[in-house]
């Protein structure tokens, strides 16, 4: 297990290096340039050149990459050109907000999504199943931003129950903090629950057809025990993986939802950086998002391995 983890980590590092190069190249290929962005409308060529030199943007790509990568290895994510601040604190702040979103959303999804999926699988073909399918179809059928708009309309504009945008730090008090989270979380969760419920349902149905579940029934165990102890445990394996990946996705910023709810998380930061052509900010943001995403993927694999005794006890010599 330890060996497996180490190998996976080394592998992750490799992917990240390649990815960082890719990110660097892609950002370089973006049209427009930061110097003219900073200089603004109708800046003369000399001004732009002066800014270019000042930012070191005139140097060869390799040098720029080298400097950037070296900085990152030393924990320096660079300085935002537009915000003229170190990127790291800005990123950390956005990441912490995304983290809040991710944790809350995931908790809700886990409870409701898995519950609904199990219910649907157990009552397969019956009312409850149809209802879960129906509702989950709604969740996946319509894009999240559409739900976002509908929710804003209902809860923000008509009922006026909830704030429809922005973020309140916990320092402002629990209620403002929580109330600002409700709509983004609900929107996010609508789609995720649908996916998780469907996934849980199908893997649960698969597991319910296995021999060991049949055998558990043959032992005369009550259906509840059969489902919880024998079926659910195994059916959750794929679900856990997907949950972990979803966590990584939310952590990396759900661009659209953050946009609609003016939620200052990673997604909006990235969009902002791209719109302003703030290369260091783009690069660092993508790097962090992808790292978070990869780590979540890794966590998913490890969790999978850990929950699965076959892998847990077979890893050492494999």
């Amino acid at each position: 297990m330890l060996l497996y983890t180490l190998t996976r980590l080394a592998y992750l590092a490799m992917v990240l290096v390649v990815m960082s190069i890719l990110v660097f190249l892609v950002t370089q290929a973006m049209p427009g340039d930061v110097a003219s962005m900073i200089a603004g409308q109708f800046a003369s060529k000399e001004v732009i050149d002066a800014i270019t030199v000042k930012l070191g943007l005139d140097q060869p790509l390799i040098v720029q990459y080298g400097r950037w990568a070296a900085g990152i290895l030393q924990g320096d994510l660079g300085r935002s050109l537009v915000l003229e601040q170190p990127v790291a604190p800005i990123l950390m702040e956005a990441l912490s907000r995304s983290l809040v979103l991710a944790v809350v959303a995931l908790a809700v999804v886990t409870v409701i999504g898995i519950g609904a999926g199990v219910l649907a699988a157990v009552r397969r073909g019956r009312m409850a199943d149809q209802m879960v399918s129906g509702v989950s179809y709604l969740g996946i059928a319509v894009p999240d931003f559409f739900w976002a708009i509908v929710l804003v309309l209902i809860f923000g504009s008509y009922l006026k129950w909830l704030p429809t945008g922005g973020y309140a730090p916990l320092a402002d008090g629990f209620v403002p903090w929580a109330s600002h989270l409700v709509l983004p979380v609900v929107t996010l969760v609508l789609m995720l629950i649908a996916r998780i419920a469907r996934l849980t349902r199908s893997s649960m149905i698969d597991v319910l057809q296995t021999n060991y579940v049949k055998y558990a029934r043959a032992k005369g165990l009550p259906e509840k025990v059969v489902i919880v102890r024998h079926a659910l445990r195994n059916a959750l394996l794929p679900t856990i993986t997907v949950l972990a990946i979803d966590f990584g996705l939310i952590l990396g910023g759900v661009v659209v939802i953050e946009t609609v709810f003016s939620f200052p998380g990673m997604g909006r930061l990235l969009l902002f950086a791209i719109q302003r052509h703030d290369l260091p900010l783009i690069q660092a943001t993508i790097l962090i998002i992808s790292t978070a995403y990869c780590l979540a993927n890794l966590a998913a694999d490890l969790l999978y391995a850990f929950v699965n005794p076959k892998i847990r006890h077979g890893m050492g010599n494999a």
Binding site: P31, G32, D33, V34, S36, M37, I38, A39, G40, Q41, F42, A43, E46, V47, A50, I51, K54, V82, L83, E84, Q85, I90, E93, A94, R97, V152, G156, S157, K160, P163, T164, G165, G166, Y167, T259, V260, F261, S262, P264, R268, L269, F272, Q275, R276, H277
Partner: protein, 477 residues
Amino acid sequence: QAAGTLKVAVDSNLNTLDPAKMKGGQEYVAAYLLFNGLTAIAADMTLKPDLAERWEHSADLKTWTFFLKKGVKFHSGREMDAEDVLATITRIQDKATGSTARVNFEIVESMKAVDSHTVEFTLKSPYSGFAELFGERQARIVPRDALDTLASNPVGTGPFQFVSFAPGDRMVVKRNPTYFEAGLPKLDEVVIRILPETASQVAALTTGELDLAWNLPPEAVDKVKATSNLKAEAVPTSTWDGVIMNGTTKPFDDVRVRRAVATALDKQAITQIALFGYGTPTHSPIPPSHPYFNKDLPIAKGDPAAAKKMLAEAGYPNGFEVTLYTPAGRATRERLGLAVRELLKPAGITVNVQRVPFDVFLKDIEGKAGFYIDGFFSRPTIDTSVYPWYHSRGSWNAALWNYANPAMDKLLDGARQASSEEEAKKLYGEVQALAVQDAPGVIPYVINHVNGVSARVQGFTSHPMMFLDLRNVSVGQ
């Protein structure tokens, strides 16, 4: 004394808090809360003293002396003096700073501190509007010993001092206890929240989560007006959007083509489409509210038949096809672009609208493309609002549409030295007529600046320059 916290929403992130580098309206909001200039443009568009107690100029308009108020303290506690002014201007002049105000100060030949509170500027050429330049947004006086940290920790002399800034989320400022205008400001704290979604802003205003929404987009104004506890504080500005036709590119090098485009566009309709009526059709950057506005000139009503004829004369009997670029994310300008596309269709001109990200717009479109939508903020004076665009040596003109008409140059030069208001008015009237006739571009309207304000907010008026002046504001129950 009523006080409290005012919660303001702006629609976009503040990219920098360094006034010299500011470019967007929401940044200027911060600039006016945190900093002062030597002079200020008041709500009635007159020039008032600010950090400068008074100023004088030589008879040839080439030497200008500013006498600073005494005892004005930066938030850091140090007193502001002449050296700070010199440092501020030097910094703006430095190309590497990249300040958009740099061109304004190119006219300065030299400057010096006469004493600790007196600064003297020597200009390369006579310029009567020099004092107004210090009312400009970027020309905020900053402490010379804190220049490098301005972006993240701005220190100024303004009514409020910086507390915190979370990019993308909010900026918090608090009352400056040592502000030089006695008894001001009234508020304890101002929270500026960044809420790009209009719907969110309006909803937050209605629920009381916000007190003020700065610069509401026109489409939201009706909703605010219709809500009982909200007010829409509107003020006309000379901020305008325009359809730019680059005179060096085909087919716009032919004045008949440009005139055809102008003729085909119904300015009233465009104002409706782009601004939902929250603007006024105009001929040039001179707003209809200004005394110099030429009331005798008819506003174009849109005459596709006439336009078609003009096109035929210009050699385009079947019209032509052209790409119109609009900057993405600027809603009014995007709408303007689509309106243009629609209104030019009956005239036989096929317009393909191409939306480009703003940075690409700045780099590759503005000043380079043949046909695009652009727009400019209010300038402090009519001269600064018109001259650069229409004079053949005007800075914007050269970059924008390359319009050259000696008659226009003569009119503009004359207006600068006009001895009376009457004469100036007459000359600017002719400028407008000529601008419409030669149509280097079409300026369909000037925009109203509207702030959505909660009824609890007292003492607030919208500023025609879109500044957010909160010195006299307080929040009631």
